[in-house]
């Protein structure tokens, strides 16, 4: 009889789980590509030539290592010793390049001839376009139309770097929709194309690969703290959108139980307004863009639009490893509003002569609370994930509106 079903058990779940989170919830068409990427990544980890090339590019091209800087005037204002891990000094102005150089090297290793990426603030798009220019690969970047508008300087930078920028008008026209469109491109062109995911989100192995490429932030910072402060920090603070800079700096301290890890999400116009981007603080478990994690969603399982002044945090999902760190209590996740981020932005400009990205400003906005709790004898390390030149127009307009 031909149609009798064989009731076999399905295969074991794929690796790439963080407790119940992570996994691979994608179309079948993409599954072999994720296997291929996993194998290529595992091989590259054991290949001294790959590691040497990556290390050399990070040093000579991207400008690593980046300094850890004692922010004395900010420390004085806040009442704790504040240290800044200066990822804003990386080539392209943010930590994103750590990951894109690694992934584009991997793409070349796999023989891929075309690169696509999604971007929110444009920093990942710029970093991908940069790595593609460096390695001679064509690059197309999907960016929400709303973000194209508010991060116009980065659109121009990508174009100068030779990338084609696709403005995505579906849905909320922000990062979530850009990622949808990038996935649609990838499912169409998967044989020739590498999808360079910019955060610790997406299906396995992306959360793993992106964390590992960003872990250099935490590894350097740990050694620098021991050398410069003579001790580990009491707390490490980073902003969380998808969560790549936070995962990168947390990775260096995750085994140091004395170090508190604090991720700061975007509370947008205020958690109580519902217009925010804080899935770890306010979301539920769900599946978005290939991974199980915390997600902003309706009771019926539809993904809600996120809201943040910062395009890079304007995302209703978050990397699965953050979900796990939250559940096991290893990291704490909090949120700050657009207004608080704007205040912190100005404070850092004024006290330290550093213009931070609006994303990064969220981490700074939570510092007063950490400093108040930990007191004057505490060392607090902040991931200064990017610089804020791209945000000047948004900031100046908002400040004008506030009067």
């Amino acid at each position: 009889m031909r149609y009798v079903p064989r009731l076999m058990q399905p295969p074991e779940p794929v690796s790439g789980r963080y407790g119940p989170y992570g996994g691979r919830y994608v179309a079948e068409t993409l599954m072999p590509a994720l296997d291929e990427l996993t194998h290529a990544y595992e091989e590259s980890q054991g290949d001294p030539a790959f590691q040497a090339e990556l290390g050399s590019l990070l040093h000579h091209y991207a400008g690593r290592e980046t300094p850890t800087y004692f922010a004395s005037r900010l420390s004085e204002e806040l009442g704790s010793r504040i240290w800044l891990k200066r990822e804003d000094l990386c080539h392209t102005g943010a930590h994103k390049v750590n990951n894109t150089i690694g992934q584009i090297l991997l793409a070349k290793r796999m023989g891929k001839t075309r690169i696509i990426a999604e971007t929110g603030a444009g920093q990942h798009g710029v970093a991908t376009a940069t790595a593609c220019a460096l390695m001679g690969l064509p690059c197309e970047v999907y960016m929400g139309a709303e973000d194209v508008r508010r991060q116009a300087p980065n659109v121009r930078r990508m174009e100068l770097l030779g990338a084609e920028v696709h403005s995505v008008t579906s849905g909320s026209a922000t990062l979530k929709d850009a990622m949808n469109e990038a996935l649609r491109d990838w499912v169409t062109n998967v044989r020739t194309t590498h999808y360079c995911v910019g955060s610790v989100a997406g299906p396995h192995p992306y959360p793993l690969i992106v964390r590992d490429f960003q872990a250099v932030i935490g590894q350097e910072a740990r050694a620098q703290m021991l050398e410069q402060a003579g001790r580990l920090p009491d707390a490490v603070v980073a902003c969380v959108g998808g969560g790549s800079n936070a995962m990168g700096i947390f990775a260096g301290f995750i085994d140091d139980e004395s170090v508190r890890l604090i991720g700061v999400e975007a509370a947008g116009e205020g958690i109580e307004t519902g217009r925010h981007a804080a899935p770890l603080c306010e979301g539920d478990v769900g599946v978005l863009h290939g991974a199980k994690s915390y997600v902003l969603q309706t009771p019926d399982g539809q993904i809600k639009e996120a809201h943040s002044i910062s395009a890079g945090l304007d995302y209703p999902g978050v990397g699965p490893e953050h979900a796990w760190l939250k559940d096991i209590g290893r990291a704490t996740y909090v949120s700050v509003t657009d207004d608080a981020a704007l205040d912190a932005f100005q404070q850092l400009c004024r006290t330290e002569g550093i213009i931070p990205a609006l994303e990064t400003s969220h981490a700074f906005a939570y510092l007063p609370a950490v400093a108040k709790e930990l007191g004057s004898d505490a060392d607090i390390l902040v991931c200064l994930s990017g610089r804020g030149d791209k945000d000047l127009e948004t900031v100046l307009q908002k400040l004008k509106e506030r009067g």
């Binding site: 064989r6 399905p10 079948e28 849905g171 399982g301």
Partner: protein, 266 residues
């Protein structure tokens, strides 16, 4: 044997492929969806894939994306889709495969969904972003209840993954004709259907081919090779273009009748 497997066997006995028609539930509204399912079944559809709309349909092209947006704007939920299936069951026995994305299912609760779906008279599940590796939580309860779980095989699937899909299948396997999203222009339907046919012979179970099949001519190109033919975006576009729900029902009736003429094996 479930209703879906039975429908495929009926079609084989008639020396033709089975016609699988996709409709997005709630487009233009759920009451019209019930009429559309009945009309499609009366016009020659052997199986209905009833799309459960999702806010972020990453495997779908523009036509089905827009249908999902219209449906969600109208307040469609998974619970209301199940109510609609119950209502349809008073009018037709056509097999109904619930087709969608995983998050609304996870949010509803997998076991609860299986129970409620069985109660409503639905016949199974096809979840686009739930590969065999992640499917145990839905497939297990579904199989226990006698509901089907339909896995997908893509042009990129290697032999190992094809074997996985085959062992997860309970009735038919959905073969994606090309790398792409729904509604894309098919590159080469003839060779895709030959690959699907080879797969069907190798696995010894029915394969339906979908993606990029729009016209009666497309149907007659693929029908000789496989046991099932899926048409989705073309139906959804017909509904989108209709000036009223009544016109949508009439147009779908005409389109499905025409598509059904291409199913023969000759």
């Amino acid at each position: 044997m479930g209703r879906i497997a039975h429908a495929f066997e009926n079609a084989r006995n008639e020396n033709r492929a089975a016609l699988v028609i996709y409709l997005c539930a709630g487009d233009p509204d759920l009451s019209t969806t019930a009429d559309l399912v009945v009309a499609a079944a009366e016009s020659g559809a052997d199986v209905i894939e009833l799309g459960v709309p999702f806010s972020d349909p990453t495997a779908d092209g523009p036509a089905i994306q827009r249908a999902a947006e219209r449906s969600l704007a109208g307040g469609t939920t998974l619970a209301k889709v199940l109510d609609t299936v119950s209502a349809i069951r008073g009018r037709t026995d056509v097999p109904i495969l619930l087709f969608g994305y995983y998050n609304p299912i996870l949010s509803y609760g997998e076991q609860k969904l299986v129970d409620d779906a069985a109660q409503s008279g639905a016949d199974g599940f096809l979840v686009v972003n739930l590969p065999p590796e992640e499917s145990a939580g839905l497939r297990g309860p579904a199989v226990d209840k006698g509901l089907d779980f339909v896995p997908l095989v893509a042009p990129t699937s290697n032999p190992e993954r094809i074997a996985q899909a085959a062992s997860a299948a309970t009735s038919f396997i959905y073969y994606v004709s090309m790398t792409g999203v729904t509604g894309s222009k098919a590159a080469d339907l003839a060779s895709a259907s030959e690959r699907a046919g080879a797969l069907q012979r190798e696995l010894g179970r029915p394969v339906a081919i979908g993606f990029g099949i729009k016209t009666k001519e497309d149907v007659s190109t693929v029908a000789p090779h496989v046991d099932g033919v899926v048409v989705g975006s073309a139906v959804v576009r017909t509904i989108e273009d209709a000036a009223s729900p009544d016109e949508a029902v009439a147009s779908v009736r005409a389109l499905v009748s025409e598509l059904a003429q291409g199913l023969g094996r000759r």
